[in-house]
């Protein structure tokens, strides 16, 4: 509790700092704007209202993926007595990341590159960003908040492996630390001009930054937290899972097609690849289940769709429709076996398969991007099938580096929290359900 109050105080302090800095900025910013206008004559970037329209909406769509999309997807999968706690984990992650992103997250990721490792803190509290600042053809503010939504969902995704046993206070601290020392650097490396970007790793919309990052952190945490008392998946409300899947799918169009950062043909192919991979992945998961476990389930359809969406993420703006189909087929059965066979064998308790789906399908997508990247779709990427085997190696390096870094950082964070505040709730409270012990409320009074 004291910790919480401290956080509150820090927040308020930083705000005042921010007001001060903002006032400093109030004067120069028109000057900056003027300069931009002066230097605008010939081919200077100009705001495009169409691109801006699309990116505003894309941002809102990605926001929707976390609240309520992922929150309800995870909430519906958890046991009835843990529903609200599971939802609250995604909800609070989105809120905390939203605040920290505008304070320091954006500048550490997209500020001037320092040593290929991290961005410079020049835009703390978004100082220097003005209403007419542009990022490409769209307002910089939109770019900032678009990227914010990616950071937020990445953190929230991790929770899927930790639920039904982690203390809510521990999770709150985790969100702050993990976003800061795990997400920001990796995002900088790949998108902010860091070393993986320089190496030429392809990641259209976040296979590595978002899904492998979150998936590996999920696995590490699942192992460190240990097993739940009731180590079994009993979805409290599958209608919420379908709802969550639908909102994720919808939002993913903003995620993937929005990563074109413009309303153009590249957004178009990213969109259709996204839909195709999700759809075929759902069908393949269903058929795999039908032949392997005798019945096709709705949860299987939903899981397959999500796996397909994850796998196509790094590839969406690089591959053609056939590439998308192959990627979707792979994400339809490989994660299934990871979840249904590998997990029970290895014995880690990844409650909602955050690793099994996001980690595995993210890796499939990252690697296959190195195979199927088609230069006629996007000049920026050319894969194995198009005569560039080096790309495949680069993809492996990016996946490997990320996985190793995240493993180390996540372990450290969890160890620190364990010492500071403890990680797990009492066994008895766990059985009773975390909704009551952590929040004192109940999902349904029916």
């Amino acid at each position: 509790m004291k910790l919480m109050l401290n956080i509150l105080i820090i927040a308020i302090l930083t705000v005042f700092a921010g007001i001060v800095s903002a006032e400093d900025v109030a004067q120069p910013s028109p000057a900056v704007a003027e300069m931009e206008e002066v230097s605008a004559p010939a081919d200077a970037p100009k705001l495009d209202t169409g691109d801006t329209a699309w990116m505003i909406v894309a941002t809102a769509m990605v926001m929707l993926m976390t609240i309520p999309g992922l929150a309800l997807f995870y909430g519906g999968l958890s046991k009835r007595k843990d529903t609200l706690n599971t939802i609250a984990m995604s909800f609070v992650a989105f809120c905390i990341v939203s605040v920290l992103w505008v304070i320091y997250g954006y500048t550490l990721t997209f500020g001037t590159d320092m040593l290929s490792i991290i961005g410079a803190p020049e835009k703390l509290f978004l100082s220097g960003v003005a209403v007419d600042s542009l990022s490409g053809t769209i307002p910089e503010y939109i770019f900032i908040v678009f990227q914010l939504t990616f950071a937020a969902i990445t953190v929230a995704l991790v929770s899927g492996a930790y639920i039904e046993r982690i203390k809510f206070s521990a999770w709150v601290i985790f969100v702050i630390l993990w976003m800061t020392i795990a997400y920001l650097p990796v995002a900088h490396w790949v998108w902010g001009g860091g070393f993986l970007a320089k190496d030429g790793a392809l990641d259209f919309a976040g296979g590595t930054v978002v899904h492998i990052n979150a998936g590996v952190a999920a696995l590490v945490g699942a192992v460190m937290l240990g097993k739940r008392q009731e180590n079994v998946l009993i979805p409290g409300n599958l209608t919420l899972v379908v709802l969550g899947t639908g909102l994720l799918w919808f939002g993913w169009f903003g995620f993937n097609a929005g990563s074109a950062l413009a309303a153009n043909g590249l957004a178009g192919i990213a969109f259709i690849n996204t839909n195709t991979a999700a759809a075929i992945s759902a069908v393949v998961w269903m058929l795999t289940e039908w032949s392997h476990a005798k019945k096709p389930t709705l949860l299987g359809l939903a899981s397959g769709a999500v796996a397909g969406l994850v796998a196509i993420t790094p590839a969406a703006g690089f591959v053609n429709i056939s590439g998308a189909i192959v990627i979707g087929i792979c994400s339809g059965f490989i994660p299934y076996f990871a979840v249904a066979s590998l997990k029970p064998k290895l014995g880690y308790d990844d409650a909602l398969d955050a690793f099994g789906i996001h980690g595995i399908a993210g890796t499939i997508g990252a690697i296959l991007t190195g195979v199927f990247a088609d230069p006629s779709i996007n000049e920026a990427g050319s894969g194995l099938l198009y005569g560039n085997p080096g790309q495949l190696a680069t993809q492996f390096v990016a996946v490997g580096v990320t996985a190793v870094y995240v493993t180390i950082v996540t372990s450290l964070i969890l160890l620190i929290i364990k010492m500071l505040a403890g990680l797990r709730v009492d066994a008895e409270k766990e059985v009773e359900g975390l909704d009551e012990s952590q929040h004192g409320e109940k999902a349904y009074n029916l």
Partner: protein, 112 residues
């Protein structure tokens, strides 16, 4: 007076209820219960992992009746709730010491 308590399959409830009504039974109380018995439960399947549901949804019907009616009530329930398959359920019969109607305070058989 006796209490007849029958555990039956839920989809037989309407039929049994209607038959008892025809017999002149004016009231009964029904509870959703879970049964464990010779009939085994089913398997649910989440992400490829089987999950054994060992209980089976049943309904319990409670009817309080005068002694003279017990025989008829029991045979009506047997007739209507019977499917011939395992899990059709049981009927338990208990003695009752008294009945009171809350609305009027009447006691005994007239309160049923």
């Amino acid at each position: 007076m006796k209490k007849i308590e029958a555990i039956i399959k839920p989809f037989k409830l309407d039929e049994v209820k209607d038959a008892l009504n025809e017999l002149g039974v004016q009231g009964m109380t029904v509870t959703d219960v879970k049964g464990f018995g010779r009939q085994k439960g089913h398997v649910e399947l989440y992400r490829g992992t089987e999950f054994q549901i060992s209980f089976i949804p049943k309904v319990k019907i409670e009817v309080v009746a005068i002694n003279g009616m017990v025989e008829k009530i029991v045979s009506t329930i047997i007739e209507k709730a019977n499917t011939g398959k395992i899990g059709d359920g049981k009927i338990f019969i208990y003695a009752l010491e008294d009945v009171i109607r809350i609305r009027t305070g009447e006691k005994g058989e007239s309160a049923i």
